[in-house]
Amino acid sequence: MLYALCFLLFMIGLYCAVVKKNMVKIVVGIMIMEYAVNLFLIMLGFRIGGRAPIVGQEDIAGVGGGLTELFINKCVDPLPQALVLTAIVISLGSLALMISICIRTYEKYGTFDITQIRRLKG
């Protein structure tokens, strides 16, 4: 169910990026797509009632030999979170570039409407 909602968010972003005429809205659409993917990654690693994948002193003392089992059965998968951090940094980079190109285009054309920014043809 949650996955379906996440996919819906992705499709909303795609729709927004493809259909909208305003450059800023297109950028927002692309960002929604990327957030949907990030959300999806986080949900992959999530488990209800899970615990942080960090082993403290008391865990070692309390559980003893079953540490690996505890880790596998209880903890949240840490890998997707690392992936999402990387993906966020990358999308920040591309967002900054996209916005700066929008600003430069606005300076040149005086509009954000892509139907009026049409010098390239053929």
Binding site: F10, G13, L14, A17, M23, I26, I30, M33, E34, V37, F40, L41, L44, L79, P80, L83, T86, A87, I90, G93, S94, L97, M98, I101, C102, R104, T105, K108, Y109, I117, R118, R119, L120, G122
Partner: protein, 504 residues
């Protein structure tokens, strides 16, 4: 001595971040450093021919825990193509980029793009591949808009929107693959996938095809390319058309489909269809163009169709349990065409840059008679045109010949007919370039045109001589066995990739 793999990524990456320090005053030093970086990459790539099948574990984390870099035949081939084209384009930029400001920023973006592409072809980890893909893409978005004029900004925005959508698709597919297999290492994913694919993985494969197809500008995902490639400065057009669409698009697609998911009949047909569509549509659209760089950009789409067609045909034959020799011939044709196209298309874009710098226009209607004024540009452009049109003995002839032979052997006669037909269209479009640019009457306002000088000529002559001798790659058995055959074998072996990497 075997060359440590991270060097291929580290050299351009470190140099890229050093260059902006020099700023305006140290422009000469920055240019020198950047050229040293690309030339040393070329030397290293040539030196590492034949050292196939090596795995480097980043940070000494054993796979599948850590990230790994894999160097096999296919990576080696792509690495060679990237370093040849980037060395030539960088050398060309020494003089060509004098007309722009902020040269050191340009150089560092250029090197970032090279680092990203080298990372993509070396990575053995699917998420790491995505990261390097984004490094190369973001650098290329910025480079397309480097001139900051109306058309360049518009093209850059268009390219960036479609490129970002493609990246989101690829990331989504990576997430789906991780959710289904619990691994990010390509070899382990390939081991964990049960075939036939479950719906989640099949969907991921579809996303990969669309994502990488957008990056490779295959028809019907090609809308950004004819705007983006002409708008970039000429050396960057050469890089984009020459290697970027191949490393980010075709290589990644082939790697994921052949080595990770495994090729099937339907996927083979999809690749063949994409290839044929790109070839025909690209060629038809190119013939009508009057902007010299735009014509070349459309022809890139068409030529990339050949590469995808060859690889897809090979995959199709393998998936049908056909003759492996025919399949490897088709893939050989595709990969050889990939390398050839990297060389002659970048040369064509460099010559167009040379023409544009001298005449100040890209419109072929305003040119003419430049043959007498710019003899070297004319000669190199003619060699590249002959090569792309498939006139023997230039390189393009051999790869197209191999593709035709492979198609006929596997009894795809109509495919062979289409290949020959598109080749004729290519001949027509480059005759048009020759006729309107270099022959005919010299217009009044171009009487003072001078030949380009120095580094631009050296880069063009270097690539032109490669065009002439590249045919040797298939004729001389030792060269063929050391460069092309290992790359073909990576794809024909398909899923054996996984066992090979895990076994090392």
């Amino acid at each position: 001595m075997s060359i440590p793999l991270p060097v291929f990524i580290a050299i351009p990456l470190v140099t890229a971040f050093l260059l902006p320090i020099f700023g305006k005053k140290g422009k000469g030093v920055a240019t020198l450093l950047a050229n040293l970086a690309t030339i040393s990459l070329l030397v290293l790539a040539v030196a590492s021919i034949g050292q196939d099948d090596r795995v480097y574990e980043v940070g000494k984390w054993p796979i599948p825990l850590g990230i790994n870099l894999v160097f096999d035949g296919l990576s080696c081939l792509l690495l060679l193509a990237i370093s040849v084209v980037s060395a030539a384009a960088m050398f060309f930029s020494i003089r060509y980029m004098e007309q722009y400001t902020a040269k050191s920023k340009y150089l560092s973006l250029f090197l970032l793009m090279v680092a990203g592409m080298n990372g993509v072809v070396l990575s053995g980890d699917i998420f790491n591949l995505f990261v390097f893909l984004e490094i190369a893409s973001i650098a290329s978005y910025a480079l397309v808009g480097f001139g900051c004029e109306h058309e360049e900004l518009e093209a850059s925005f268009k390219y960036m929107v479609l490129g970002s959508i493609a990246s989101a698709f690829v990331l989504f597919a990576v997430a789906l693959v991780y959710g289904n297999t619990g691994s990010l290492n390509m070899a382990y994913i390939s081991k964990a996938i049960s075939r036939p694919l479950n719906p989640g993985l099949a969907f991921a494969m579809g996303l990969f095809i669309v994502g990488f197809g957008l990056k490779a500008a295959l028809v019907p995902f090609h809308a950004w390319l004819p705007d983006a490639h002409p708008s970039a400065p000429a050396p960057i057009s050469a890089m984009l058309s020459g290697v970027l669409i191949k490393a980010l698009g075709v290589y990644a697609l082939a790697r994921v489909l052949f080595n990770v998911f495994g090729i099937s009949v339907s996927i083979g047909w999809i690749l063949v269809a994409l290839g044929l569509l790109s070839m025909v549509a690209g060629a038809f659209l190119a013939i009508g163009q009057w902007d010299i760089k735009r014509l070349m950009a459309y022809s890139s789409i068409s030529q990339l169709g050949y590469v995808v067609l060859g690889i897809g045909l090979g995959g199709l034959i393998i998936a049908r349990d056909g003759n492996v020799a025919w399949a490897s011939l088709a893939i050989l044709g595709g990969l050889f065409h990939l390398v050839n196209h990297a060389v002659y298309k970048s040369l064509l874009f460099l010559t167009s840059g040379s023409v544009q710098m001298s005449t100040g226009t890209r419109d072929m209607k305003q040119m003419g008679g430049l043959a007498a004024k710019m003899p070297v540009t004319r000669a190199t452009c003619t060699i590249a045109s002959a090569s792309i049109a498939g006139i023997p003995p230039f390189s393009g002839f051999w790869s197209k010949l191999i593709l035709v032979i492979a198609a006929v052997q596997a009894s795809f006669y109509w495919v062979a007919a289409v290949i020959v037909f598109v080749s004729l269209c290519t001949l027509i479009m480059y005759l048009k370039v020759q006729r309107y640019t270099f022959l005919g009457e010299l217009p009044e306002n171009l009487q003072q045109v001078k030949e380009s000088k120095g580094s631009m000529l050296v880069a063009m002559v270097f690539l032109a001589s490669l065009c002439v001798i590249m045919g040797l790659l298939v004729i001389v058995p030792t060269l063929k066995d050391s460069i092309l055959e290992p790359a073909v074998k990576v794809l024909t072996d398909g899923l054996a990739y996984s066992a090979k990497i895990i076994g090392m």
